[in-house]
């Protein structure tokens, strides 16, 4: 009996739906379109309590489920011979763990932050709902289940983007929805062919391609895989379909953009891993034009993302471009198809989740307290909100990859893996691009630190406006994690490389 592993899926889902229904009922009674602010502190407290309890319980259950070994459960048959099937394996486990941690932290942060955005009920409703969907996505054991929850994640996270109800936000949400759908459909295109050419749609480490069926149809299968890479790459912000990301992430409320950038883009990464390493297998892809094209796209994205971030002046947009660039590090690592690069990619998945959460949450804190959105305005923020800026600084260092912060470890493995791989000119080109991008990363993240702490002469120091503890504590915890994981990476590296070995 492993049915209980689905509790972290159902519990937040049901709670989220309850909140949404209640929120919608309130709206029906109203005559204007302005966001609802809960004035009554007691009601708000109850809402927070409810959300916190549900989420904590779910997270605990999720961690229990993730750590309790390889369990599987078949929910029902969606179609003839295709069940909704959950199976917890290594990759899913990692994703579930870091998702849970970030989700919980951002939730506490959001309790304070959302006070000035309003519509808390709706926000937390969707927040819980998306968590449930993500858990299901992480735990899914076959491709159709994955696709099912991939779509649902898109649909349920979309309302978080349009939260503030401005025209810009609505358009961004629409863009997000349509890009993601397009990506999902490109993925679906591949799923149809994988269904035909693989022995099973269940995830099998190393893939389950049936050589007899494939022979003669290699071209179409390669096209299908490429389509899946680009399609699922949409969520991961890979060129050429990255356009939604700089539009959607900045307009969302900070906790939402944190999880969008830190976690939900990883849904794309997870899907790519599933398709490449658990369905098709590296054997079939290695040395084909698909690998080359994928690598080129990933490297281009790495470089372009950094460059765009460097040129961007709106702080949250800069971070969004940074996400574009960083997630493609992961994709590049995956495309190299060597154990070391794979280890690096998995590590970077985790590290980037934490780092980007910190960055967005601190950006949110600045906006929340100071109302500053453009980087030029950040001069001297270190004097006003030193704690927040310190967290930001640690995360920045980690993202740039300065030892001993975590980003260094993952980038090291990525570069080492690329050098190992039999990928022609990319053996050198890849690490070089990563290096240039790291420089650019420093270029777009550190000026804020410097200007923040050292506003220069003639800067009038206004009074301290440090973020509320409820915001600062989650921020600090995750920021500490980003450093800590860099200092003590041993067990994690060991675990990841074991996975990577098993998949090659």
């Amino acid at each position: 009996m492993s049915g209980w592993i689905l509790l972290p899926v159902f519990l937040p889902t049901i709670a989220g739906i309850l909140l949404l229904v209640s929120s919608f009922r309130e709206h029906l009674a109203r005559t204007d379109g302005m966001p609802v602010f809960i004035e009554d502190k007691e009601v708000l407290g109850k809402l927070h309590q409810f959300t916190a309890i549900v989420l904590t319980v779910s997270v605990v259950l999720a961690l229990l489920a993730a750590l309790s070994g390889d369990r599987s459960v078949t929910l029902f048959y969606l179609m003839k011979d295709i069940p909704i099937y959950f199976h917890i394996d290594e990759v899913g486990r990692i994703n579930a763990v870091f998702t849970s941690i970030v989700w919980l932290a951002a939730c506490f942060y959001a309790f304070v932050y959302m006070e000035h955005e309003g519509e808390e009920k709706r926000f937390f409703g969707f927040y819980l709902l998306v968590y449930g969907m993500l858990m299901a996505l992480d735990f899914s054991g076959n491709l159709v289940t994955l696709y099912f929850f991939y779509e649902l994640v898109t649909l349920t996270s979309m309302p978080m983007v349009l939260h503030n109800g401005t025209r810009e936000a609505i358009m961004a949400a629409l863009k997000y929805l349509l890009y993601s759908m397009l990506g999902a459909y490109m993925g679906l295109f591949a799923i149809f062919f994988l269904y035909r050419y693989c022995d099973t749609l269940e995830f099998v480490p190393g893939g389950s391609l049936n050589p007899q069926l494939v022979s003669g149809h290699e071209t179409i299968l390669l096209i299908a895989v490429m389509s899946a890479l680009i399609g699922f790459g949409v969520k991961a912000g890979m060129l050429p379909l990255h356009g939604w990301l700089p539009a959607a992430h900045p307009v969302a409320p900070a906790p939402a953009s944190a999880v969008l950038s830190g976690i939900i883009v990883k849904a794309g990464v997870l899907s790519v891993i599933r398709v490449v390493y658990y369905m098709v297998g590296t054997e079939f892809l290695r040395g084909t034009w698909v690998q080359t094209a994928w690598m080129v796209l990933a490297l281009l994205t790495v470089f372009m993302g950094s460059l765009m971030a460097y040129r961007e002046k709106v702080f949250k947009k800069r971070l969004a471009y940074s996400t574009v660039s960083q997630v493609s590090y992961i994709l590049f690592g995956l495309s190299a198809m060597t154990p070391a690069a794979m280890t690096g990619a998995l590590l970077h998945t985790v590290f980037h989740a934490f780092i980007k959460t910190v960055l967005f949450l601190s950006a949110g804190a600045f906006i929340f307290r100071l109302g500053k959105t453009r980087v030029e305005e950040y001069t001297g923020v270190g004097k006003q909100m030193p704690g927040t800026l310190w967290c930001y600084t640690f995360a920045s260092l980690a993202l740039i990859g300065i030892p001993p912060a975590s980003g260094f470890i993952s980038k090291w493995y990525l570069a080492a893996g690329a050098l190992d791989a039999d990928i022609g000119v990319f053996r050198y080109l890849g690490p070089a691009v990563l290096l240039i991008s790291a420089l650019l990363t420093a270029g777009y993240l550190l000026p804020i630190v410097m200007k923040g702490f050292f506003p220069g002469e003639g800067f009038e120091i206004s009074e301290k406006k440090e973020a509320a503890p409820a915001m600062l504590v989650p921020l600090a915890v995750i920021a500490a994690l980003t450093i800590l994981l860099g200092v003590l990476p041993g067990p994690l590296i060991h675990y990841m490389s074991r996975i990577a070995q098993a998949l090659m």
Binding site: L78, E151, R196
Partner: protein, 491 residues
């Protein structure tokens, strides 16, 4: 059951319909009760027929000694008759509230009910002549429904409809004659009634004749380049657009195409010929074309009509794959799309009826005022996009699975078309839902103050359709098993 009941099921609504303007009802309510009872009774009759399928056939009358109009129920007929008889009572119920303000109710319901019988005639036709006979009848009895408002626009639309439909039938006629003369029998037989030996020299003409016949029947299914009539016909009252132009009439076209492909011409002789490529190419193009036009369209009903154009070609695409699996996909989509599209059309109808707004930019903020309607609309939109868990995904899956299995590169391109169409569907459906639920921060709801959800007669069908979509989406196995047995020729 006695085969005679098949004839009863076809004739009952026709006669009952003709009587509507004649019977002195006294008041409106009694008339509505009469109509609903009639339709419901007939649906029950059809269902008992489908469940206890009669063995024999029944001959309605003879044109000549061996040209008869006769009925027999087989697996495919069951599918279509089943769809029609489920949807008809519900759509009729919906139309009671809608038609209150449209006038000429008696004539409307007369033709509406007659159409039921005619559609059943197509579903239960035993042979190609019977199908053709009812196919032509369908054109004629639905014409007054399009003309109903008698505005200039309606009359032009009905004219276009008539020209297209009769023109299509004229070309389908060629195929019918070919089958009548060259076939072993004119009855529908799984695998077709033609054989290379019996055709002799005419086999060179077979692909051409098939293309003509396919195009002819697919006029009703609004395949490009014969699709222009369908959006125009949207001037009809919404119950007509919903039931006839999303289900009965257009599906009759698709049904006829499947019949002639699998049961008359036979896929053996056609697979791999240029005819297959031509028709498949047309359907693939239509799939994308219909969606693109839907995206461009700003009128709600016309947008849905273009969406129908695209989705009907999904069905035709399934038929054009010419494998049993393709038929499964096509039939599955026929069922799924029927549910989805009638639901979204009825939602549109509810909006038009209650607010008299028919352009999409006028729908801002209505989601809060008519939450139930727009919830149903959103679900149907999601299903149309093919979000898993709803029925649209199921049929899309089987269509695509059939296409990959067929090993035909053109069919592979068709899969891409399906998915392009899905993303376009997301664009044209989700923009509506987003608008309705999220009109933007500074939207003034006071302009919508006296708008609210419609009454139970409209909401009940909508709710049932949504439930149907979810159930079929989550538990499609029995349906697919049944369809697979049809496509295996077991019936």
């Amino acid at each position: 059951m006695n085969p005679v009941y098949m004839a009863v099921a076809v004739l009952l609504p026709m006669l009952g319909g003709v009587l509507i303007p004649v019977i002195p009802f006294g008041n409106r309510k009694r008339m509505l009760i009469y109509i609903e009872t009639l339709v419901l009774a007939n649906s029950i009759l059809v269902f008992s027929l489908l469940l206890n399928r009669p063995d024999g056939h029944v001959i309605l009358f003879r044109f000549t000694q061996n040209l008869t109009v006769s009925f027999r129920i087989d697996g495919m007929g069951t599918v279509f008759a089943g769809i029609v008889s489920v949807l008809w009572p519900l759509a009729t119920l919906f139309s009671f509230e809608y038609m209150e303000h449209e006038g000429h109710e008696r004539y409307f319901f007369m033709f509406y009910t007659i159409t039921y019988g005619v559609t059943l005639g197509i579903a239960m036709a035993e042979d190609i002549l019977t199908m053709y006979f009812f196919y032509e009848m369908l054109t004629l009895v639905t014409l007054p429904l399009i003309m109903h408002s008698l505005t200039r626009e309606a009359i032009l639309a009905s004219r276009t409809y008539l020209y297209y439909s009769l023109g299509g039938a004229a070309f389908a006629f060629i195929g019918m004659i070919f089958i009548l003369v060259n076939g072993r029998t004119m009855n529908f037989t799984w695998g077709g009634v033609l054989s290379a030996s019996s055709l002799g020299n005419s086999i060179t003409l077979l692909p051409l004749i098939y293309v003509l016949c396919f195009c002819g029947f697919s006029v009703k299914a609004a395949m490009f380049p014969f699709s222009a009539w369908l959006p125009k016909a949207g001037v009809a009252p919404t119950p007509v657009t919903a039931l006839l132009h999303a289900v009965a009439v257009v599906k009759a076209g698709a049904f006829a195409v499947m019949r002639v492909t699998y049961y008359s011409f036979g896929t053996e002789l056609l697979r791999g010929t240029w005819a297959q490529n031509v028709v498949m190419g047309l359907t693939i193009f239509t799939i994308v074309y219909g969606c693109s036009r839907a995206v461009k369209e700003t009128h709600l009903k016309r947008r849905l009509a273009w969406s129908t154009v695209s989705n009907l070609s999904y069905i035709l695409f399934g038929a054009a794959i010419m494998t049993p699996a393709g038929l499964v996909g096509a039939l599955a989509h026929m069922i799924c799309h029927a549910l989805i599209k009638i639901c979204s059309f009825l939602c549109a109808g509810a909006v038009i009826c209650k607010t008299e707004r028919s352009y999409i930019h006028q729908l801002d903020g209505l989601g809060r005022k008519m939450p139930k309607v727009f919830l149903c609309f959103t679900v149907s939109g999601l299903a149309l996009m093919g979000v898993p868990g709803l029925n649209g995904f199921v049929s899309k899956w089987y269509l695509a699975a059939a296409a990959t299995d067929s090993g035909n590169p053109m069919a592979w391109a068709g899969i891409a078309a399906l998915l392009i169409s899905a993303i376009l569907t997301a664009i044209y459906m989700m923009t509506i839902s987003l608008r309705a639920f999220f009109p933007g921060k500074d939207f003034d709801y006071s302009t919508l103050s006296d708008i609210k959800d419609p009454g139970w007669m409209m909401l009940l069908p909508l709710g049932l359709f949504v439930v149907g979509m979810v159930i079929l989406g989550l538990h499609s196995e029995p349906l697919i098993t049944a369809l697979e047995s049809i496509a295996a020729g077991v019936q």
